[in-house]
């Protein structure tokens, strides 16, 4: 008992000391878990003994440090945590799921599902998840025990991203090679919602206003919808690189957005996408594929590059510092 009290007191003193050193920002954010999916590394050599470890890395201190979890080279594109604590990874090998914080994993999918680029867990029901893959959308309603193809309505099923509407979880949006698609019945049927002919790489929903959605496209920049995906308009003023792989919204202020581009690094908007300003100071690699803004501390932003590793900014993107994964392909970032 005395020992516990002593430890508690010592912990409190340490926290106070750290706060006084200006490190409170990170500790405030430590409840968040960040999942970084590293697809590969430029340093990887076929059959080499000294290949860098890739796959899933987890941080619980706002990106200050990372721990590798689970498998290595199975081409991990994206990882997300569910409300029940389970972790899901979208991989070349299919959809993986862990229920013990990443110590052990199960490939939930069979041979029919491969090249999965994104997996999203239903925020209201963690046993429901959707996989966006090279072969279209697949859905599980039993925590991955079984999966069902959900491609009715797609002309071309290649999809790289999917969003579950947080205000109505049966409504979905999918980023396809030929426009953005919407489903109103949990993926049972899909219909084109806009930007036909454009390769949509990512789709993001505003965390506060469910009617606002953002698209990042191949060569056509950013599109926004303010009516729940019925109409879309380009939003590219100031955006000089128009292939957009990643979009992140400040959870505390939806007027502030960040986009990751191919070749132009990071751009930031403070007027809800009406104009964009470059925010790449310190980025040594300008092919940005993933972005995340920490909800607890929105000035901390992480950005993943292709072959340049992970960068971190603590001042809203004014200045970036290399964080980890030298020469790594940081394909996906998410936070829970």
């Amino acid at each position: 008992m005395n020992l516990r009290k002593g430890l508690r007191l010592r912990s409190s003193l340490i926290i106070l000391s750290l706060l006084s050193l200006g490190l409170g920002e990170q500790l405030c954010a430590r409840q968040e878990t960040i999942y970084m999916s590293v697809l590969n590394s430029r340093r990887n050599r076929l059959n080499a003994l000294d290949n860098p470890i890739v796959g899933l890395f987890v941080s619980t201190d706002a990106g200050a440090s990372w721990k590798h979890e689970g498998w290595e080279y199975i081409r991990t594109f994206y990882t997300e945590g569910g409300a029940d604590g389970a972790i899901w990874s979208a991989c070349g090998n299919g959809v993986l799921r862990s229920t013990d914080s990443g110590r052990t994993w199960r490939i939930t999918t069979g041979w029919e599902i491969t090249e999965v680029l994104k997996v999203r867990v239903d925020p209201g029901n963690p046993s429901v998840a959707y996989a966006a893959s090279a072969y279209g959308i697949f859905k599980t309603t039993d925590s991955g025990e079984t999966w069902k193809e959900q491609n009715t309505g797609f002309l071309k099923p290649f999809t790289s991203d999917i969003v579950i509407d947080w205000s109505k979880t049966s409504r979905l949006f999918a980023a396809s090679e030929d426009g953005v698609y919407r489903s109103e019945d949990g993926g049972g049927r899909w219909a084109l919602a806009g930007v036909k002919g454009k390769g949509v790489r990512t789709v993001v929903q505003d965390p506060k206003d469910a009617k606002i959605l953002w698209l990042g496209t191949e060569d056509d920049g950013v599109f926004v919808s303010t009516d729940g995906g019925s109409t879309w308009k380009a939003s590219n003023e100031g955006l000089t690189y128009l292939t957009v792989y990643a979009i992140a919204i400040d959870p505390s202020n939806s007027n502030i957005l960040y986009v990751g581009t191919h070749g132009g690094g990071v751009y930031r908007s403070t007027d809800r996408g009406r104009s964009w300003q470059g925010r790449s100071d310190g980025l040594q690699n300008l092919v940005v594929h993933s972005l995340v803004v920490l909800p607890s501390t929105p000035t901390i932003i992480l950005t993943g590059t292709l072959n340049g590793g992970l960068y971190r900014s603590t001042d809203g993107g004014r200045r970036w510092e290399f964080n980890s994964q030298e020469d790594g392909q940081v394909w996906g970032l998410s936070v829970r």
Partner: protein, 597 residues
């Protein structure tokens, strides 16, 4: 997955011949191979297998196996089938501690499944045999969180689907002198150790198909014709390919022991995959040996294959690939129809000839590359892919590469004549076409008629460029290069058998100049071969033979004097003289009989 309903097989052998001299050759070659490999010291499962097979240097082999088992950097699909195959072949000779070690490594080590057909054949063969070997294990025992039963079912499902699609629509990574080994080796391993008699039989039938497919385009160790995938080193030096050692083992050709040949340069793991063939109970049906080695009469072999899965920028998942190959005892002229039929390593056309010198081939290509092409087949970003692929395959973006799929290349072949046309977009990567001419040709002359004549031993090549060109001297070849975007060549092949002397060949060819007036406008070439057949080809439009359109739609899965199969039927028939062997993948039966003369 829909489970495949399999009717219990019936295996009818009308004749069971005694061991033939050809089988004796196989026995001699397999023993020689095992003997040679068992003396090697390179680290690999195949070397270990050879050493244990002849009880040579087994203590060292055991240490090597221990090292292979302990090495965490070895994993994935190549490890999958090789590890379990070695275990199953040697388990009676291994100490229990090593058996347990292999079992733990196999079940617990993460294995990447891969992203292409050959990867999956290797991976699922390994998983199938592993789950069969260690049944009744729960989810927690396996690296992928699936029980033995679940793993077995998944692997069985994929293998059945692969055999179904390959026997009806054709192979995806077809006719590859390099990747042949990544199909035949796991298939033989599956045949050897599958306990389910139906799977065992199907694996044997697949081995027959793979060998027969090779045999129909085989010429003294060379895997001839167009290829889905091949490495530049093998394209410009066909006998260097790993498939050649399989030809030596099973077809008895080439006559030389390849490991003593400087021209034989197999890559990866010593190239000793053939040890799994040499230690297998599989024996090549005699009819396939005959198909591989009888070149007494020239023949045309046409085949249909399929593209690997198109995941983007296309509406059809597996469009057809059409192959045309003309085989003689001296040379083979073969082609695919052109276009993007496989990413990265496609080899669209060539003439390959019998020679005791290396680099026994001539061909042209447009060294195209694009991220969009790669994005048709790979899920990563198209602006990222070219650089990424270049990192592994080294030459993908090179203007001088010797393998390429180009959307701006088309062919029209009839017997020993071919027209190859190019209509290269001004924005396309690489604005030239290249041709490979080995330096060791016996003769290479530029005739005032416009023809370039080449002689390699008894094979004669006539090559007519439509546009200006230059020669670039390189280490083993003269690179023929032409920079016109609307371009083409007409090629006709002959030999001493057909034409007598080289002068006679040249004389006959010289009088028949290709017609291509206003080519930049109409992209049309007409050529009358010395057989009298008239070929007319318009890029992107009709191929006319003697005024009649040639339709690829009429192509079968296999069609030639030795192979016949209707596309979609699942029935593949092999024929040689009066002998017939029929593989029915629907009923999983093999029948052999003799035709009435």
């Amino acid at each position: 997955m829909k489970s495949m309903r399999v009717i219990p097989f019936v295996f009818l052998l009308v004749t069971i011949p005694a061991r033939s001299p050809r089988q004796t050759t196989f026995e001699q070659h397999r023993q020689r191979l095992i003997d040679v490999v068992s003396g090697e010291r390179d680290r690999g499962f195949f070397t270990v297998t050879a050493k244990f097979t002849v009880h040579r240097d087994t203590a060292w082999a055991l240490r090597m196996l221990d090292s292979l088992t302990a090495d965490q950097s070895i994993g994935g699909m190549f490890y999958s089938y090789a590890a379990i195959g070695t275990y199953l072949k040697l388990r009676d000779q291994l100490p229990d501690s090593m058996r347990q070690k292999i079992r733990r490594a196999f079940m617990e080590r993460t294995m990447y499944r891969g992203d292409t057909e050959n990867h999956w054949v290797m991976y699922y063969t390994g998983i199938y045999l592993g789950a069969q070997t260690w049944p009744n294990e729960g989810r927690s025992q396996w690296f992928n969180g699936k029980s033995s039963e679940e793993n077995f079912k998944e692997a069985e499902g994929w293998l059945n689907e692969w055999m179904r699609i390959t026997s009806t629509l054709g192979q995806g990574e077809f006719d590859s002198p390099t990747y042949f080994i990544t199909f035949i080796t796991p298939v033989l391993t599956l045949h050897e150790f599958a306990k389910d008699p139906v799977m065992k039989r199907k694996a044997r039938m697949m081995a027959d198909v793979l060998f027969a497919d090779f045999a129909a385009e085989h010429l003294e160790g060379n895997y001839c014709g167009g290829h889905s995938r091949d490495y530049p080193e093998d394209i410009i030096n066909p006998l260097a390919a790993p498939a050649t050692l399989w030809a030596w083992l099973y077809f008895g050709e080439p006559k030389v022991e390849l490991w003593n040949e400087t021209r034989y340069r197999p890559r990866n793991r010593g190239g000793w995959e053939t040890v799994f063939g040499a230690t297998s109970s599989y024996r090549l049906p005699e009819i396939i040996y005959d198909i591989a080695t009888d070149r007494s009469k020239p023949y045309v072999e046409t085949e249909t294959k399929r593209l690997r899965n198109v995941i983007r920028f296309g509406l059809e998942k597996n469009p057809a690939v059409y192959k045309y190959t003309y085989m003689t005892s001296r040379y083979a002229l073969g082609s695919l129809q052109g276009g993007i039929l496989q990413p990265i390593q496609q080899h669209t056309w060539d003439v390959t000839y019998v020679s005791d010198k290396p680099n026994n081939t001539i061909f042209t290509l447009h060294p195209f590359y694009s991220g969009r092409e790669l994005a048709m087949f790979f899920p990563e970003e198209q602006k990222f892919l070219a650089d990424e692929v270049d990192r592994y395959h080294k030459v993908y973006t090179s203007p001088n590469k010797w393998n390429s799929s180009s959307p701006y290349e088309q062919t029209f072949q009839h017997n020993n004549a071919i027209i190859v046309l190019y209509d290269i977009d001004r924005k396309a990567m690489q604005q030239h076409i290249d041709g490979f001419f080995p330096k060791n040709l016996d003769e290479r002359t530029e005739d005032p008629s416009g023809w370039i004549f080449c002689r390699a031993g008894a094979t004669y090549v006539a090559f007519f460029p439509l546009k200006p060109y230059q020669w670039i001297e390189e280490e083993v070849d003269w690179r023929w290069r032409s920079a016109d975007l609307k371009n083409g060549v007409v090629v006709e092949i002959g030999s001493s058998d057909e034409d007598g002397s080289f002068d006679s060949f040249k004389k006959r060819i010289s009088v028949s100049r290709p017609e291509y007036e206003n080519f930049d406008q109409n992209l049309t070439v007409q050529y009358t071969a010395r057989s009298g057949d008239r070929l007319k080809f318009t890029y992107g439009k009709a191929r006319l033979l003697n005024g009649k359109p040639v339709s690829f739609k009429a192509y079968k899965l296999f069609r030639g004097p030795f192979m016949l199969s209707e596309r979609g039927s699942g029935i593949i028939t092999m024929m040689y003289k009066d002998k017939v062997r029929e593989l029915d993948f629907n009923k999983v039966t093999v029948r052999e009989w003799r035709r009435a003369k």
